[in-house]
Symmetry: C2
Subunit: 346 residues, 2 copies
Amino acid sequence: MDNPATGRAGGRVTIREVAEHAGVSVAAVSKVMRDAYGVSADMRAKVESSIAALNYRPSAAARGMRGQTYTIGVLMVDIKNPFFPLLLDGISDSLAGTQYVPLIGIGRGQPTLETTIVHALIDRQVDGLILIGQRMDTAVVEVLAREVPVVMIGHHEPGATTFDSANNDDERGGALAVEYLLQQGYKRPAMITLGKDQGRADVSRKREVGFTRAMREAGFDDRTIRIAEAYEGIDDVTATVRSLIEGQEPPDAIFGWADYYALEVLSAVRSLGLRVPEDIGVIGYDNSPPCAFTQNDLTSIDQKGREIGRNAARLLLERIGGRMTAEHFIASPTVSTRGSTRRKTK
Amino acid sequence: MDNPATGRAGGRVTIREVAEHAGVSVAAVSKVMRDAYGVSADMRAKVESSIAALNYRPSAAARGMRGQTYTIGVLMVDIKNPFFPLLLDGISDSLAGTQYVPLIGIGRGQPTLETTIVHALIDRQVDGLILIGQRMDTAVVEVLAREVPVVMIGHHEPGATTFDSANNDDERGGALAVEYLLQQGYKRPAMITLGKDQGRADVSRKREVGFTRAMREAGFDDRTIRIAEAYEGIDDVTATVRSLIEGQEPPDAIFGWADYYALEVLSAVRSLGLRVPEDIGVIGYDNSPPCAFTQNDLTSIDQKGREIGRNAARLLLERIGGRMTAEHFIASPTVSTRGSTRRKTK
DNA sequence: GTGAAAGCGCTAACAC
DNA sequence: GTGTTAGCGCTTTCAC
């Protein structure tokens, strides 16, 4: 006897059983479930008490065939990057108190896996999709957005009309890093970014643009503006740092395009015997929790992850609710000052 | 015209359309999809080419109403702990090449949220559930396990017959930490663990038992065996470390029950002005990626996360395949030696 | 080996 | 305000 309330073996309680128990029609139960128009207080009370008595939970699969599943699909490129949990916190904040549950797929940095997951999510009839930092072509996303409401995080497309986005001002953030480093007395900042083969991570390009612009404004030129690519991704950061440090005119400060990379930079720099911040300054991007550890003490551009997540979910719910025009949320980055850029000798 | 292949607006390609295109019955298409018995090579070829031509993908929601959804639900207590991605890597390893996709829910350390997510996953007709580090009563899990195959990670229940589990030998791991610290010349190891109010994290208790046993065997007694609880969880580690260090007979080594906590211990200890490993040794548990950073350089008990994940998924697939007896996988922990316990002065 | 048809648990028209 | 009923897209008997 599987279900103590019904005595039925093997199956769950269905809407039909609830209707029988309450002495009403299945349509009435359905309406109560969905807060739909046209139920008397009396009926609502009866139905709700039957739902509670039978411990009824509607099948999302069945609901999905006609209406909504109350599921939000979230595609995260990567679960190891310590920034992403902040976004998820924000998304959860906005979803708390609603019927919606976020279900997450991890792309693990593999484009084919990302596609598989997005399809898997859509096949499961999610009501909306939040895409975090993935690297599909805009055209592909526009096709998706016709099937289901989409909000992108980590991808700037201010002209997009079929989907929304939530980001911070990455160009401004890149410039902020330069301004702050120079102000601290560093003379030759360099930047470490994603390799071009690692896909078109839109935000890293924006940060490069901001970095370059601010460097130019400070009097640097194409020869002295150094942007090194970690071709193989995160595993390649150490080698990239080494070639920078051991090369001609080594930098005295390094801007890592994301904390996840900047923490590797810290590690690489220290294993080369350099002192941070005296010999070399390091600044990251994201202001993720590990920055605050004493052993990292990493200055970082705060892109307001939680705020971005909150707004992404808000925009998605609005889309699901029927909004047809696009909205693009932009948070303002700030500098979170810590020890990794505190130069003693000016 | 939404779908270029069909010209139908607004909807997806259905099994009926594939059947018409291939000139066969819907039953035939269904059989091909599921590799079921009773299809000729000829028919299979026709159907498969129609599937490809129409770019057909079956609706998981509809499939779920009668058969399988080919979805594995994963409940993770927390996404911030850097150990969990290793488990996920292992799970993905085992699922690669199958039709199954893992969909993840994050409990964020909130028991009510965990329950909500497990229900949400079951309501969405997942074919199986992997529960990572959650803290439900065994009785509750046994009820779940009657509805759907369940594998638990981070919860020891060797006598459980209704669900499987995959773990490492946490008692052995706890003892290993002590043995290694003493061997390195440390004289007064202490342990930092979860507060009891933080729920019954089974693995932390096991590690305490191993720690205590090894300490006893080394001649310590109840007065000198120190296990401090971070009552409020991760945010409370710094305060706990401080009270340990500033108290009577401070320890000269600290064993953090998980890297996630041990990294906080490192931070706290250093912010108190102590040198690691000279003044105090620190050892963690999990051997998660951040241990390898030069600035952390954290010795850790390796519980073989990826191996655990791989086996958890393997066990789950076997259960889904029909195995009715329980299996409990146990990995053997080892010490990953790094700088945080390398004492110069013996 | 193949296909017709019932039905999974819901939602939404529509009739009352 | 309430109930009846036709599907949603599949899987699965069960005839043929």
